[in-house]
């Protein structure tokens, strides 16, 4: 019975997270979109963007932090916060432990302080390898603490969002995180401080319906899925297939919900420019 449950969970995880990049021997990566083989070294140097077709694959939080933060400047916060199992959902505790072993992450968001182009920031990066970066109590708490830290230190917050939505395993507590993070983000805003969100693939559900959409400036990566409801849920409601670009970053920008779409190679420079325009601004 318990074994059964694990088997099911594994299948679901695969479906939610998509097929991982197929790793070939001899340090070759196969692009998920164009299926061409690319040397891992070139791929990494190109910030995990396929040099042949431009497909931007999902990045882990550590990769993202390495790409953006000035070398050696990142200091992680709140790594000791630990996930509990308030609904006593069978298999949840083990699943969290396994993901911790596999990824080295303690939860689906990494938060901390760092410098970007010499400017100090509070930064948070969500990581889809961890239960599709769904938001449970620990994710909510780490983000709320990040905003509170930034408010105390008068720092801007840069947040990379990616999420399947609320962490259903934690029931109502996961829903409450939307209110909790919005509260802390709101206090930060009232202090006159800058909050930049960068929407990455996929930003959906309760994360879209809370802090992802509360930034002063909202950036997005090209072609990232951005939406509230899941594609299949909408297709089920309307009884037909949705067009290919529906809920893309470009769609969100066309409809007025994203300030700027920034290709990965230009991200650090764009963030630096925006940060520089707000240096020292607070109440």
């Amino acid at each position: 019975m318990i074994l059964d449950m694990f088997k099911k969970n594994r299948n679901i995880a695969k479906e939610l997270e998509g097929v991982p990049e197929v790793e070939q021997p001899k340090d070759v990566v196969v692009c998920k979109r164009c299926k061409n083989e690319v040397l891992r070294e070139n791929y990494q140097r190109n910030l995990y963007v396929c040099p042949l077709c431009g497909h931007q694959s999902r990045m882990s939080a550590p990769q993202r932090i390495e790409m953006l933060c000035d070398e050696g400047s990142f200091k992680e916060h709140d790594r000791r916060l630990r996930t509990l199992n308030p609904l006593k959902f069978k298999g949840y505790t083990d699943k969290i432990e396994n993901l911790h072993q596999q990824t080295g992450l303690t939860e689906a968001v990494v938060t901390g302080s760092a410098k970007i182009g010499g400017m100090p920031v509070a930064i948070g990066v969500m990581d889809t390898r961890f239960l599709m970066a769904s938001m449970g109590s620990v994710v909510g708490e780490k983000l709320a603490r990040l905003f509170e830290y930034a408010t105390r230190k008068k720092l801007p917050v840069v947040l990379f969002t990616a999420s399947g939505g609320a962490r259903m395993h934690e029931g109502i507590f996961s829903l409450m995180q939307m209110a909790k993070v919005s509260a802390a983000a709101g206090k930060h805003s009232q202090a006159g401080l800058l909050y930049i969100t960068v929407l990455t693939d996929p930003t959906t559900g309760g994360v879209t319906a809370s802090f992802a959409m509360q930034g002063d400036i909202i950036l997005a990566e090209p072609r990232a899925v951005i939406g509230f409801a899941g594609r299949r849920v909408i297709e089920g409601t309307i009884g037909s297939k949705l067009p290919a670009g529906f809920q893309s970053a470009e769609f969100a920008q066309d409809h007025g919900f994203v300030d700027k779409i920034v290709p990965r190679g230009e991200l650090k420079e764009t963030l630096q420019r925006i940060l520089a325009l707000h240096v020292g601004h607070h109440k």
Binding site: K8, N9, I12, R80, L81, R82, T83, L84, P86, L87, F89, S137, V138, G140, E141, A144, A166, M168, H169, E170, G171, I172, F173, S174, L175, M176, Q177, M178, A179, K180, S182, A183, A184, A185, G186, K187, Q190, G205, G206, T208, A209, S210, F211, A212, M213, Q214, G227, F228, A229, G230, V233, I234, T237, I238, L242, F246, Q247, H255, G256, F257
Partner: protein, 267 residues
């Protein structure tokens, strides 16, 4: 004998269960409905307006479902589009300006999932509603009267006090959705309903809500007048309590309440 979550879910589906239209006419005098979000349109799934209770002016907002199939369809089964949440935001800002408390009646399966809702920013509308409510400089009371469906309910449930009718439910996802996604088996709906801890007593024990409004033995629809008497008592009591609190204290308490939500360890 306490009802199971699944039994409550069946009970609140009764077409005769009173909803916001009945509550507004039974509880508020001189009610005037106000329409539109001033940007796109008027969402019939959200009712908003001003009235008085116990001689006191209040803003009333909530999900509207109707009491017949035709009405259900007209009101989109109480599932708002973004313009519904934006109408609500407009009316709560108006309430703040004129120092009126806001009373929400929540009863929705969730925010609508559709093409237009995505095009007009369902996520953005809910996000704004949550944040506005957190800092709204007037008292906010929410009563969940039937279904409290996820973010679509939360957008009207960031309140100083949250009550649930005895048989109402409040959850991050429907039990059916939970069973489909986590167990790949929607037929395990009943099991999921119990696991999710979505009943009023469960949520009171978690500190997610502040109180339970009793229903008649067979449910609110068996004696709507009785249910309204209970609701009036709660509303009048809370409005009186709010009147003793300064805005600063009110907002600090509201912030602290939501800031403290969550279960985790820090060792």
């Amino acid at each position: 004998m306490s009802k199971s979550a699944f039994e409550r879910m069946q009970l609140i589906k009764n077409i005769a269960r009173p909803n916001i239209d009945q509550y507004v006419s039974a509880l508020f005098e001189d009610f005037i409905e106000l329409h539109g979000d001033r940007a796109y349109g008027d969402d019939p799934a959200v009712l908003g307006g001003i009235g008085t209770i116990g001689g006191k002016a209040v803003t009333v907002i909530g999900h509207r479902k109707g009491n017949s199939t035709e009405e259900n369809i007209r009101y989109n089964f109480g599932m708002p589009h973004p313009e519904g949440y934006r109408k609500s935001i407009r009316l709560m800002q108006q309430a703040e300006k004129f120092g009126r408390p806001v009373i929400f009646f929540v009863d929705t399966p969730g925010a609508y999932c559709g093409v237009g809702a995505e095009e007009r920013g369902q996520g953005h509308a809910i996000a704004q509603s949550i944040q506005q409510l957190m800092f709204l400089k007037t008292p906010v009371l929410t009563i969940i009267t039937g279904e409290g469906g996820s973010g679509g309910a939360l957008a009207m449930a960031v309140a100083d006090k949250i009550y649930m009718l005895e048989n109402a439910v409040y959850s991050v996802i429907s039990p059916r959705g939970f069973a489909s996604i986590l167990w790949k088996d929607p037929s395990k709906e009943e099991q999921a309903a119990e696991l999710l801890k979505m009943t009023a007593p469960d949520l009171l024990s978690f500190g997610v809500i502040d109180g339970i409004v009793p229903e008649p033995k067979g449910g609110a629809h068996t004696d709507p007048a009785r249910t309204c008497i209970e609701l009036r008592q709660v509303i009048e009591k809370e409005l009186e309590d709010f009147s003793f609190l300064g805005t600063k204290t009110l907002l600090e308490n509201r912030y602290r309440k939501f800031r403290g939500m969550g279960v985790f360890a820090s060792n």
